[in-house]
């Protein structure tokens, strides 16, 4: 999946509400509402800003948070991305 490009499944259909400890996002394309913590909100916002590969996303997150790229952060991102795809928030394509 690393080389796949991630993009929102329904660009322009997300409505966000922001709190200190997370966000609620309403996907008008599916009618579903999701609570995301700050980290998963961050991931989705980065993808919303522009399509990017998993590798680029991981690099951006690691650098942005001032961390070494690690297996842990890769696993956290991979898990979140799987959930996003299951919830039809994003899609990946070669």
């Amino acid at each position: 999946m690393d080389g796949h490009t991630l993009r929102l499944a329904a660009p322009g259909f997300l409505e966000w509400r922001v709190w200190d400890d997370g966000c609620v996002v309403f996907n008008a394309a599916t009618g579903q509402t999701h609570y995301l913590d700050n980290f998963t909100s961050y991931l989705l916002r980065l993808i919303e800003a522009a399509p990017l590969t998993v590798d680029d996303l991981t690099e951006t997150v690691s650098v942005g948070l001032g961390r070494e790229r690690s297996a842990q952060i890769e696993a956290q991102i991979a898990g979140a991305l799987r959930n996003f795809e299951t919830l039809a928030l994003l899609e990946s394509a070669r």
Binding site: R17, Q32, T33, Y35, F39, R45
Partner: protein
């Protein structure tokens, strides 16, 4: 919308997302990342709320999602006038009292739509309109001193509505 307008809207959306991402990034640098990132799909009967009380900073957290919801019938009734000021549920769990020593948190009223005003909230359709499947409604919860607004909908039937709270109580879409 012309192609150019479409491009401009898309670019503005991307810019907004980038700004929001940066806010989150700075927050995460301070707080760190949870061991297991959280994504929760809000089911019918769960709710978010933002208090209207001036100066209130004690917003409900994710842990205070509301799981109970009152019952009401689907298409054809009851009317907004009948629902207004009716206590449709005996209690909601998870909403903290905003004012120490105040009363319990009960639903004060459910009003369909967005016309007219009541307590500073706008409603598009006034009393007398029926609450129907597909409607958006406002839930007003009071603790006697402050009120909290939930934007709820669309109504799908008895016991079945998705709540989507708005940060601006007077706007519910």
């Amino acid at each position: 919308m012309s192609e150019q307008e479409s491009h401009e809207a898309r670019d503005e959306g991307a810019a907004q997302a980038r700004r929001a991402a940066d806010v989150l990034r700075r927050r995460l640098v301070k707080t760190g990342i949870a061991a297991v990132p959280v994504i929760i799909s809000l089911q019918s009967g769960t709710a978010w709320a933002i208090s209207s009380c001036a100066g209130t900073t004690n917003r409900p957290t994710q842990a205070q999602l509301i799981s109970k919801f009152g019952s009401f019938t689907g298409p054809g009734g009851p009317t907004a006038a009948q629902l207004q000021n009716q206590q449709l549920v005996t209690s909601l769990t998870g909403i903290p009292d905003k004012v120490a020593g105040s009363g319990t948190n009960d639903i004060e009223s459910i009003v369909k739509g967005f016309s007219g005003t009541s307590g500073g909230l706008s409603y598009p359709s006034g009393p007398g309109a029926s609450v129907e499947t597909g409607d958006m409604i406002h839930l007003i919860v009071t603790n006697g001193s402050c009120w909290t607004s939930y934007c709820a909908g669309p109504i799908k039937g008895t016991h079945d509505v998705t709540i989507f709270a708005d940060t601006t109580p007077s706007v519910c879409k």
